[in-house]
Amino acid sequence: MKSTSYSEKTLDHFRNPRNVGILEGPDVAVGKVGNPVCGDLMYIYIRVSDDRIVDIKFQTFGCGSAVATSSMTTELVKGMTLDEAMKVTRNDVADALEGLPPIKMHCSNLAADALHDAIKSLREGRRGETPEPLKVCEVRSSCGLPVTKPPAIEGAEVLLGKGVYRRVEEPKAFVDKRVLIVDRGKPSVDVALDLTKHTGMVIFMSSTKEPSSKDDPRAPLKRSDVKVIYEAELIAVLGEGEVEKVRVHDLNENEDYELFIDAVVILE
């Protein structure tokens, strides 16, 4: 079966998704699942009164089935009690959509998980708060900066001066290069912002969550041309004689992937 062999019902929910949007207020809880790196990210917002879901909305980045399962889930559980909603499974959502292509069952049928996350968050008293990702890395302090000295990055010493930089003295060296800057607080943010004047490909990588406060030193990155990867760690710099790529650990998914770049800035 092709990955896009969708049922008519799935296509209908993709074309005309129900309950799109966000909810706000003290009686709202939010659930999140997925990660843009994998191609799917969903938020489910529930408003609860007398233990019942009285309103529900979603936002989804993803493929056809990611949108359709989000929409179907909101329709299925609206009006349910929280206990009833906790029993709704991915299979229930797929059945209600008259089936999903097998390959999509696990990768993009995640909306039930986002719903359960929202209910758990409500029960843990996190109403109205930004959701925690489902799998949270432990090595963080409350201000978001790493608690301990960051772990050694494999290959960074060997390739020092061959694409790995400890300081940026001559920004012209980065013209048209794909540059990765590792989060080392405000000085590294300043370097990232400055380098956008010299190259169109500046990536900033931080193990912290996306900042919610304007006072966070990383907040200015949002309105810049810097591409930012949050909740990820640089674990290795790779290349034969010069930097060719890096290996990144995605803290959310607990998975590694590679990025092709020309230079890495790891400030001292």
Binding site: S3, V20, V37, D40, R223, K245
Partner: protein, 391 residues
């Protein structure tokens, strides 16, 4: 002509109706086997050798340097595996480009299992191989470099002449998979000293299931499939005469019509690129801005995913491709896009348009009519598209 707006010519091309006419008698009336010694066999042998001549002329080659295969995949396997097997005593190292199609990466994996060593040369943000970096990858034991002439996906054309210059006089063979480039950019093996070149019939509007491999004289390869010894012993199996005659007819037509057709396709491409980048905020062109195939426009759109774009265009009767993982068999995003330095979420949001023989400027107008609305709708669902991005 396709009923819908078909802008996915890199995935499949129609067979030119004139090619079908040329092929037809070879199914029913002229069905001789070139290996047979009677008159029907002689007729087939004549047609086989005339076809070989036409395909050779198309790339400036000598007739005897062409062998027919079942397609580009077989030609690539025969070129790479056949070459390294035959030349193992001279070295065990090959170089391919990071940006190559996954099929070439998989051939490289297969020969690594046989003990060969493979290095991958990086590409820049536009998908172009840096000649400087290639030079650094070459070692004493390097025997083969394989770099696709152009990317069928992002459309970037490689500096083949410069690449050939780097290898010149060093006893290292150069293979190029030219299927994305054939019929779209001039290929002449007299000007660019390629040793092994992969061609496919369908990419020049010939039939599917047929390809060719150009093997420069004095370049030796081993067969990868034992059999009856056809095609100089390098590719056994009774020749597929209708398809071979079809590929020759396609090459003949392409040789005369290519200059005008390339201009026509480039006009469609440029109109689409200008329209999309001008009308859709946060849209970007993938691949090289100038050194790109005349029929290829490849975009990415922030905060949305490619399969959703593809499905929405499908609903409007427009056929395209995407590099998103969600549309692939492996659930991995396109390796070519990742090798350019794109983040995974950027690769997921990519969309590829390729023009071909039935494409008209009105197809571009249709895309520009519906695409901005589709992008806007999907962004309105997306948690990644923040209000401040809109501002």
């Amino acid at each position: 002509m396709p009923a819908q707006v078909y802008l996915d010519y890199q995935s499949s091309k129609p067979v030119d109706p004139r090619v079908v006419d040329a092929m037809r008698p070879w199914f029913t009336e002229r069905f001789g086997n070139p290996s047979s010694l009677h008159l029907d066999g002689d007729e087939a042998t004549d047609a086989l050798e005339r076809s070989r001549e036409k395909v050779a002329q198309f790339i400036g080659a000598n007739k005897d340097d062409i062998i027919f295969t079942s397609g580009a995949t077989e030609s690539n396997n025969l070129a790479i595996i056949g070459y390294v097997t035959r030349n193992r005593k001279r070295g065990d190292h090959i170089v391919i480009a990071e940006s190559e199609h996954i099929s070439v990466h998989n051939i490289a994996k297969a020969i690594e299992k046989q003990g060969f060593k493979v290095s991958k040369v990086g590409v820049d943000q536009y998908g172009r191989v840096s000649v400087e970096k290639l030079r650094k990858k070459i070692i004493d034991t390097t025997i083969l470099v394989s770099i696709g002439w152009a990317s069928s996906e992002i459309g970037t054309v490689q500096p083949m002449q410069e690449i050939a210059d780097v290898l010149h006089g060093r006893g290292i063979a150069l293979h190029s998979d030219a299927v994305a480039a054939e019929g779209l950019v001039p290929i002449d093996v007299r000007k660019v000293p390629i040793d092994l070149l992969t061609l496919s019939a369908n990419d020049i509007y010939g039939p599917k299931g047929l390809g060719a491999l150009y093997i420069r004289r004095n370049v030796n390869i081993a067969p990868i499939m034992p059999g009856g010894g056809q095609e100089r012993g390098l590719r056994s199996g009774t020749e597929d005469m209708p398809a071979i005659v079809g590929m020759a007819a396609a090459a003949d037509i392409m040789a005369s019509e290519m200059p005008a057709e390339v201009l026509r396709l480039a006009h469609c491409r440029d109109r689409l690129i200008e329209g999309v980048l001008g009308r859709i905020p946060k849209s970007h062109l993938n691949g090289h801005p100038r050194e790109r195939l005349p029929n290829n426009a490849h975009f990415r759109f922030d905060a949305i995913e490619g399969e959703s774009l593809l499905l929405s265009l499908k609903d409007k009767g427009i056929a395209v491709s995407t590099g998103s993982a969600c549309s692939s068999k492996t659930l991995e995003p396109s390796h070519t896009l990742i090798s350019c330095g794109l983040l995974h979420e950027e690769a997921h949001g990519s969309l590829e348009f390729t023009f071909g023989m039935w494409s008209r400027p009105i197809d571009v107008d249709r895309v520009l009519e519906v695409l901005p609305g589709i992008v806007e709708r999907l962004r309105s669902l997306s948690p990644l598209y923040e209000k401040e991005v809109k501002a």
